[in-house]
């Protein structure tokens, strides 16, 4: 068996694990989900079909991920947690669930009542199905959290490359602004920005970018300062390459290792931040389900021990997603140390 595999060259899964197919799969998973969450209200009749291609893409990505991480059970655990929620996010419309916004009987405790759809976790104080709300809620947390982190990374990496590679006045100015932004407590920065711009998903992206980009810029700047002394950068300079080419082609691919690990950790922070913001009423607005919102709404009712599940369920959901991101970061770091 092993021999025939060798003869056949790289296996199907190996070929899928190359950069190009991976990017196609990630796009297939990510774009429908983003479109569904951000512009779902404008899709009209297509809303129910748009997520269909994302389901197989998510499953294949999960299998490839487990294969890549197979030597570290910690990383596989992290990956599984993250992909569990991703899978919930892309399959939410097709699962046999109650409508997350329709009130039925309030204060139904978990497992106390049987229905013909999944109805395990009871209802909240308004009588809305908890299970359905937790599953639907992960869509918004994941999409806005990841989008905000990605935008923060693009901005931070860009400024970091410019400041590290060009140095001089560029560095002075960029570093100065980064230092000013870093001197604000993160929560104060969020509150100032969101109060000024008004609470919405896109403004959360702006706020997270302002809060995270300076730190990302610092990391990338440090890496760029190191890498720009390498001979291959010198070689590019001596053949008259434009600074932009050197930054994008020669520097950027070589800073990706530490950046990917940091991105995973930062996804965790961003998820916390978004949940906190919605908890404070500064983020996504009701009535659509969202974990932070669920915690906020049930905070008072859950003071009674009997109804603490209303708080525990969304809180555990947030923790498991963040734990997943952090364990993935750990696994990635372990893998990068190995080679």
């Amino acid at each position: 068996m092993a021999v025939t595999e060798l003869d056949a060259g790289p296996s199907f899964l190996d070929r899928l694990s190359r950069p190009k197919p991976l990017i196609v799969l990630a796009v297939l998973m990510w774009i429908p989900l983003t479109v569904y969450v951000m512009f779902g209200d404008r899709l009209d009749g297509y809303a129910d079909t748009v997520l269909l291609p994302a389901i197989p893409a998510t499953l294949v990505l999960y299998i490839l991920g487990v294969r890549a991480f197979r030597e570290s059970w910690v990383a596989v655990l992290g990956l599984s947690l993250v992909f569990f929620w991703l899978l919930m996010a892309v399959t939410a419309p097709y699962l046999p669930l109650m409508d997350p916004n329709k009130p039925i009987a309030p204060f139904t405790t978990p497992f106390s009542e049987k229905r013909d759809v999944f109805f395990w976790l009871g209802t909240d104080f308004k009588g809305r199905d908890m299970l359905s709300r937790v599953i639907w809620g992960c869509q918004r947390v994941i999409v806005w959290g990841v989008s905000a982190t990605m935008v923060a990374y693009v901005v931070g990496a860009l400024f970091g490359l410019v400041s590290g590679y060009l140095s001089g006045w560029w560095d002075e100015i960029i570093s100065f602004f980064a230092n000013v932004l870093l001197s604000f407590p993160v929560m104060v920065l969020f509150i100032v920005i969101l109060n000024y711009l008004g609470p919405s998903g896109f403004n959360i992206v702006v706020a997270v970018t302002f809060a995270s980009a300076p730190a990302i810029m610092r990391i990338v700047r440090g890496l760029a300062l190191d890498i720009k002394t390498r001979d291959y950068v010198f070689a590019a300079q001596t053949r008259g390459e434009h600074p932009l080419y050197i930054m994008i082609v020669e520097l950027l691919p070589n800073v990706r290792g530490p950046i990917i690990v940091d991105a995973c950790l930062r996804l965790g922070y961003t998820t916390v931040a978004i949940t906190t913001l919605t908890f404070l009423g500064l983020g996504l607005q009701p009535p659509d389900p969202d974990w932070g919102l669920m915690i906020r709404e049930s905070a008072k009712t859950a003071m009674l021990w009997k109804f603490s599940y209303m708080l525990l369920v969304p809180a555990l959901a947030v923790s498991s997603l963040i734990l997943g991101f952090n364990l993935m970061a750990d696994g990635l770091r372990e893998m990068s140390l190995r080679d």
Binding site: E71, A235, T238, R239
Partner: protein, 693 residues
């Protein structure tokens, strides 16, 4: 002799590392007997297991290394049976080790005095004051000036050579029985290295310390050791007295090594180097039988590829052993390797001319500069004047801080010259930064870099990196055409074509350097600057890469500026030599003129400092005192005056030296009269025939 107990004895030692890929044998069947006062050299290329042996002797192999067979006896006792407590006591007091990187062996946040005092305080329990006194004494023994001041310094406040002396002092503090030196001078400049080598020799004479000296440099081993083990791919292949191994080597690998280093007499045209074909096998891909088999020209199936090879004693020599099944069948006299002689290439017109090129850096202390007084200038290059002709190799020789990298930067257009002219053909380059140069000028001037691990971008394939140069310089635009040229370049540098699709991490150091050469030649340059292109490579690979570079240069009639500190390589391949010190040209002339008197005193010291792996050569010993001054604060008058043996005070340290011109453009910048310079004795000369032997 035989009634003495050896200080150290390794018997059939085998060491393995356990990794994810399974057991990897790092060292197999290693034997060594070290008598008191003896210095034993271990020579080999990277990955041959020489450092593993040293670590095993220290019993320091990490969590995944283990001695799987054999024993290590220290003063007759098996070290494997000692407890952790006993080992801790022996390490640092009876066995001491000196590592390659002095800065990494010293704790940067502790005063040198405190670090030194720790040794006797821990091992002998003496008081802190007594330990400090001992430390000062030992620092004086390693010839460090002003030990009191050094005791109160941090490691970064003293130079690299001084740091290594401190490390050696630390090793000597408790009078060890055995000193392990792992490439102790590799990170240092040659003139500083010569000082350390002299010190090591004095130590073994004065203290009778036994030493194991690990190095890749055969010349250094010849200068320091009594006996020698040559290692290849985890095995000792030849053991014997230095004289026996150097003069009557009996293993094809040893002979291959000697064939690939440029000894005096080797010449790029008449007697080129012979590289060992192929490359070192990975530990888990070792062949059956003789590890060197696949690269050996005497390989014979059925004899060399069966079973485990044993060491055979060479008849007639004492303790000379070799791991070769056919050593008696090989005619060692007749089969000496000889490279094919090549026609010398006549030099053409002047391609590059540098006239009084000067580069000063102004050290700017930042925004608050007005607080720190007038800005300081670093004179990186001072009035450089020389020319290079078509198809000629001009070597620029100098140690760190001599300004050769700055010169390369000005030439490549990354820095502006402060004054003077640099003409490439009829284009003036001095104040023309690279982004203002037209494409043709840029493509006519390319560079080969020193560090093979840095020269290629790890994120892109080999093909795309060479292809980028081809496109950038407009050699070809069409994809197929570019691919064809990439393949042709890979052929030229003797790499398989499918390397185009590989990433740099899949290549060995030598292969990367070949790709670097292919990239430099992709735009058909007129002038190639080679910045120590082989100094980071293994000896057997160096020769192949050097030869390749020369062949391509010969074919394209390229002018090469070869920057190096290694005078033996330079002697081998350069037509003309420029010797630089602290930003100034001290001497220039043809290779023969540089290597024969009259010398500049610095050239003389440099020649004497380079170790030569040839027993037939006699070399005067000149060890420079002191360290290279900082270019930010150069001496007044002659830059070399602080270290020069001929220094005339009142003249050399106050006035700039005059330029003395000898026949055919041989120039020396020195205060000594031409007659005095002419009267110098040659540094290197063949030894008078040893009729007595």
């Amino acid at each position: 002799m035989s009634d003495q107990i050896p200080v150290l004895e390794c018997r059939n030692l085998s060491i393995s590392y356990y990794t994810r890929a399974g057991e990897i044998p790092a060292v197999v069947d290693f034997n060594l007997k070290l008598m008191p006062g003896e210095a034993h050299g271990i020579v080999g290329e990277s990955g041959c297991g020489k450092s593993t042996v040293a670590l095993a002797i220290m019993q320091y192999m990490g969590t995944n290394g283990a001695i799987v067979d054999g024993e290590i006896l220290f003063e007759g006792r098996d070290m494997r049976t000692m407890s952790a407590e006993e080992l801790r006591h022996i390490r640092g007091s009876k066995i001491a080790m000196v590592y390659q990187e002095p800065m990494a062996s010293l704790n940067p946040s502790m005063l040198i005095g405190e670090q030194l005092a720790e040794v006797p305080v821990y091992h002998e329990g003496i008081s802190q004051d007594a330990a400090m006194a001992r430390a000062a004494e030992t620092l004086a023994k390693v010839r460090l000036p002003d030990p009191r001041r050094i005791l109160k310094s941090y490691p970064h406040q003293i130079s690299g050579g001084q740091q290594q002396r401190v490390v050696i002092a630390m090793a000597l503090l408790s009078n060890p029985r055995l000193l392990l030196l792992d490439e102790p001078t590799t990170a240092l400049d040659v003139t500083v290295e010569a000082g350390i080598v002299e010190l090591i020799n004095e130590i073994s004479e004065e203290f009778g310390t036994s030493m194991i000296y690990i190095s890749h440099n055969l010349g250094l081993i010849l200068e320091t050791c009594d006996r020698l083990t040559v290692m290849y791919s985890g095995e000792a292949v030849e053991v014997g007295d230095i004289r026996d191994v150097f003069d009557e080597m009996r293993h094809p690998y040893t002979r291959g090594l000697f064939g690939s280093i440029p000894l005096p007499g080797a010449d790029k045209n008449a007697q080129p180097l012979v590289a060992i074909p192929g490359q070192l096998p990975l530990p888990h891909e070792r062949p059956q039988g003789c590890n060197f088999g696949p690269r050996c020209s005497f390989f014979r199936g059925g004899t060399c590829d069966v079973g485990k090879l044993k060491m055979h004693a060479v008849p007639g020599d004492d303790g000379h052993k070799v791991r070769c099944e056919r050593f008696q069948a090989i005619d060692w006299e007749r089969d000496l390797p000889k490279g094919e002689a090549k026609e010398p290439v006549p030099a053409g017109d002047i391609v590059l001319s540098v006239e009084e090129m000067t580069k000063h850096y102004v050290i700017d202390d930042g925004g608050m500069a007005f607080l720190s007084g007038p800005p300081r200038t670093v004179k990186a290059n001072e009035k450089l004047t020389f020319t290079a002709r078509e198809a000629e190799t001009v070597a620029i020789v100098g140690e760190s801080g001599c300004g050769k990298s700055t010169f390369a930067k000005v030439l490549m257009g990354l820095e502006d010259a402060t004054a003077g002219k640099v003409m490439l053909g009829n284009v003036e380059l001095g104040d023309l930064p690279v982004d203002k140069r037209d494409r043709e000028t840029v493509s006519r001037l390319q560079m080969v870099f020193q560090n093979p691990f840095d020269t290629l971008n790890p994120s892109h394939t080999i093909g795309s990196q060479i292809g980028r140069v081809i496109r950038k310089f407009g050699v070809a635009k069409d994809d197929d055409e570019v691919e064809e040229i990439v393949y042709r370049l890979l052929d030229t540098v003797k790499l398989p074509r499918d390397f185009a699709k590989r990433k740099p991490r899949q290549l060995s150091g030598g292969q990367k350097q070949r790709v670097g050469i292919a990239r430099a030649f992709a735009g058909n340059p007129k002038v190639v600057i080679a910045d120590e292109p082989v100094s980071a490579l293994d000896v057997s690979v160096q020769a192949a890469v050097t030869e390749l570079l020369m062949d391509i240069q010969r074919e394209n009639r390229t002018t090469m500026l070869f920057i190096s500190h290694d005078l033996s390589v330079v002697r081998y391949l350069a037509d003309r030599i420029v010797v630089m010190y602290l930003g100034q040209i001290m001497e220039q002339g043809t290779t023969d003129e540089i290597f024969a008197p009259p010398y500049h005193p610095y050239t003389e010291a440099l020649l004497a400092a380079v170790p030569i792996a040839d027993t037939r050569i006699e070399k005067r010993s000149i060890v420079l005192k002191g360290e290279i001054p900082s270019p930010a604060n150069p001496p007044k008058g002659c830059p070399f005056s602080t270290r020069c043996a001929y220094m005339m005070s009142g003249v050399c340290d106050t006035q700039a030296p005059p330029l003395r011109t000898f026949q055919s453009g041989h120039q020396i910048l020195c205060h000594l009269e031409p007659a005095e310079l002419e009267a110098m004795e040659p540094v290197i000369k063949p030894k008078a025939a040893e009729a007595a032997e």
